[in-house]
């Protein structure tokens, strides 16, 4: 939500809402001391994903239903008080916002290559068990 309580009307304003929610989630999540590094890196990854979702032109208008979706996702993130659940939400939240901001209505797909599934091992990357 923007400062005056209305949904954001531009992609840049929506990004600001989402980034605020992400940082708040991180504050809750980082209280799990053993996971501080993971939370820190996950937050950085989330920031980058949100920025990509917002695109290079922050002044670009954002449709009302998409803006409302971002606000709703940010509000849901704000309801998370449990640090362990917050860690899970840190992972999920950027993708939910990405979907809201970038997906064609009903035909949504992740912006990151879904076929490139090998996250850490290039040996495994893209290796389909059905191949």
């Amino acid at each position: 939500m923007s400062n005056n309580g209305t949904p954001p009307t531009s992609r840049g304003a929506a990004l600001a809402v989402a980034l605020g929610a992400l940082e708040a989630l991180a504050l809750v999540a980082e209280t799990v001391a053993d996971e501080w590094t993971y939370v820190s890196r996950l937050t950085a990854s989330g920031r980058a994903r949100l920025a990509r979702a917002a695109g290079p032109a922050p002044e670009t208008p954002l449709a009302e239903e998409r803006a409302s979706a971002v606000v709703a996702a940010a509000a849901e993130a704000g309801r998370v008080n449990d640090p362990h659940r917050a860690i899970d939400w840190l992972s999920t939240f950027p993708a939910v916002v990405e979907l809201a901001m970038t997906a064609p209505a009903g035909i949504a797909a992740p912006s990151e290559g879904a076929t490139d599934e090998g996250a850490a091992s290039r040996d495994a990357a893209g290796t389909s068990p059905g191949a």
């Binding site: 998409r66 709703a72 899970d88 939910v96 979907l99 035909i107 879904a114 068990p129 059905g130």
Partner: protein, 225 residues
Amino acid sequence: MRFQDAAPDARHAVYAAIQADPLVARVAGLLAAATYPQRLLARAVMNGESTDAATWRTMFPTVLGPGSPDRDRAEAVLAGALEVAARGEEVRSQLRGAIVESLAEILVARRSGTAAVRRERRILFDGVRTEIHPYDLTVESPGREEAWDCKWGARGINDDVLNQLDDARRHAAAEERGLRAGLVVFDLRASCAVRLAERTGPKAGLLLVTLESLDVLAGMKVVAG
């Protein structure tokens, strides 16, 4: 290399009851036919705080909004996920794990056939001490064996799991057998990458299937939009 049922223990008995919950089969069945956005919806709801459908419909306009294709399935996914979320925290967590395993089983069975896919099995190798923990899912077709561990979230990826999967692969290779070993994680690929990067366990040769690419378990190519 041979497969064996895990010895029943107290954990097994509790978990069997969770796996037998009809909600597990219903949600897993829905997710097996779902799209990436519908699966993301399920993950968000099952991990969320809100239990009213309207909140989620606002949050997912491209999945649940007017004109969204396959909207009936999306609504069914939402309803099932809300039922999971309505359970207490501990049961919710158990149900989520069971759903991921059941979903993986359904998808793998489409490729390998139902008879070849087993749950909670140990893998025995000549001269090697048997692992205590069974694999969540195995494919036991001769010459096409697989071992999978299933996780609700990237945070569940730990060095013990990586070592166990790697051990199985290496021991199989020592017997001149091929064994594909990997992780099925109902979480975003980027989060798994972050998690794996900080783990010191072996990753080479590990198969990783994430929320975006679950359909590869069924032998389907995943098309990025």
